[in-house]
Assembly symmetry: C2
Homo-oligomer: 364 residues x 2
């Protein structure tokens, strides 16, 4: 079981900081130390020597095990501190976060479900007594048997990824939960690719709802994990049609809700410049692809009869006529982050010279 690293169990922010994610990223990959949290850790934290199992503590042979291997912060136990050290060992290892909450160290969970149940209950009492607020409990897939135990204690699911599930517990009964939600949006991209013959690159999908069978549509798809919008759009067009393109700009985006798994959806319509012509379709998902005259594309009944579609095509056409400004990606580094990210905006024409604005750059 790997030790906790801050990139996995991060100090949780309730408020979106805009460009300031510094606290998290600074410590990415570094094991959390209580020093880095703004809240003080309460009292000494027991450090169990690695060959000691929680179960032997739980079993009750305290004197023997204490003499043979227990320490508090590197100091051998004396009888006077025995009771408090026992209390400490019956608790789960956890760290304070910035909001008066705690993050359980998922690298030091007991493997025995009974020990876990007892330690969890004791820890919750201890945290409650200390006025702690939110509890974050990450359970790796290898310890899924602990999930029903945590649920029975009152934990709720927060989110899950392939190899773990995150559960939370909000302790203060008189306060509404301040725990932040997880990712709420899926992100898709669509590529509007026009060649010099005023033909737009379109596809027919293999799997589609009956109502849109036969429709020629723009290549679309989800962006991958940690993928850029500008890369994803180019990749999707390439995968579906075999055509190479160069990203130009985001010309519009659509925001919809309750789309999949009750989540929301952001769909970015991107203009891409074609760099090749030959079409090779992805036979897994695409039935057919072709270059279709733009006028024919917009005349499809399903497009013509749909307000959303029509508006998007109007925007694309406006961009072609230089009557429109999209948003272009710029890679910038924030000193708070230390990491690059993409800022999408129009080019600012500082000197009022129209040729410096991307509103006027040629599409092709």
């Amino acid at each position: 079981m790997d030790s906790v690293s801050l990139s996995e169990v991060t100090a949780i922010r309730r408020t979106h900081l805009g460009f300031m994610h510094s606290f998290r990223q600074q410590f990415s990959g570094v094991p959390i130390s209580p020093k880095f949290c703004s809240s003080k850790v309460d009292g000494p934290k027991a450090t169990l020597s690695s060959n000691t199992k929680s179960q032997s503590v739980y079993g009750g042979n305290i004197a023997a095990t204490a003499d043979s291997g227990y320490k508090i912060n590197g100091v051998n136990l004396k009888s006077r501190t025995l009771i408090s050290s026992v209390k400490e060992r019956l608790l789960l290892d956890a760290y304070d976060d910035e909001y008066g909450g705690v993050i359980v160290d998922h690298g030091k969970l007991p493997s025995n479900p009974f020990a876990f149940a007892s330690m969890l209950r004791a820890s919750l009492s201890d945290w409650r007594r200390k006025g702690k607020k939110g509890v974050w409990l990450k359970l790796p897939v290898e310890q899924s048997e602990l999930v029903p135990i945590a649920i029975k204690e009152g934990f709720e699911y927060h989110h899950a990824e392939k190899r773990y599930v995150m559960l939370t517990y909000w302790i203060p009964e008189e306060e509404p939960s301040m725990l932040p939600a997880n990712a709420s949006h899926q992100v898709g991209v669509g590529g509007f690719v026009l060649n010099q013959h005023k033909e737009v690159l379109v596809v027919q999908e293999k799997y589609c709802a009956p109502s849109i069978t036969g429709l020629w549509k723009l290549p679309t798809g989800f962006i991958n994990e940690s993928e850029e919008i500008f890369s994803g759009a180019v990749r999707e067009v390439k995968e579906e049609t075999g055509v190479d393109t160069e990203f130009s700009e985001v010309i519009a985006f659509r925001h919809a809700h309750n789309v999949a798994f009750e989540k929301s959806d952001l769909f970015f319509i991107c203009m891409l410049r074609p760099l090749s012509d030959k079409i090779i379709i992805d036979g897994l998902e695409i039935k057919a692809a072709k270059w279709m005259p733009l006028v024919e594309f917009v005349e499809q009944p399903m497009i013509r009869g749909d307000k959303m579609f029509k508006r998007v095509i109007e925007i694309c056409e406006a961009r072609l006529s230089h009557r429109y400004c999209g948003l272009s990606p710029h890679r910038l580094v924030s000193t708070f982050d230390g990491k690059p990210s993409s800022l999408y905006y129009n080019v600012v024409d500082d000197d009022h010279d129209p040729s410096h604005s991307n509103c006027n750059t040629d599409y092709l």
Copy 2:
């Protein structure tokens, strides 16, 4: 236990349809019927009468229970069909999706974990034999004891919400998994609010990383579940400062990765027009708020020294001077959806009349 409804366990799309989410939304709230899926359901599906428990079948008194209450699609069993009906009853109730996969009916899960284990194993064999691909298993929080059982059978976590965890299983060993990922992005908004005295509305947060202590920043926050960007920005400013505003446009957005829970982040910088002046701060999260002269705001060392920040402020200033076009939200309904959603774009100046373009509209 509620029956499965399509808004909860939806036909899962691998490809982003752009504006076409019709198949899902059409059937929202309606129990799934195999009729609506493009794949055929294989053979008759056993319908257990409601007073019959899976455990009794599992226990083995088949002749007796069959005579006393089992039917296949409303038809009493005869001895010839007994074996196949028994097989059916040892399987989990599930529906086909559009991609050759199955969705387990979470409303009909056995409560007995042993029965579940056996039925799950038998079902996996059955699905494998029938060439099924992806399996979706939604386990409500009330049945969390089934989680470790599913994990042991080889299921993986897909995502979780407060009241359930979704697990998946990809059956074909020779094919890469085609199951779509879950929501990948959190979405935040920041409000740039300038009054007629060229003062910008700024806040100091109570909880922040040490490196930004003392910084005056724009009000920012996450949008809520199913909330619009244009609503969220106005709400956040109101909550943090007490100031009423009117949404103008999205002037830029930032895309960053590995921000929280290894997810990505989209942050929309919005221009808002102030409708009031009085500041009342949210004492829970905000330390202080005020109207600060714009020149003083940009002169803060932390802003001046940060490329990202500087660029955003330049963009805001450009917009004030009419040298910039942001994206405004337009509510449109797609006939495929039947639902409204928001399309953000520049106003297209159809007749080349600059006054019709939002690039030139006054901010104040």
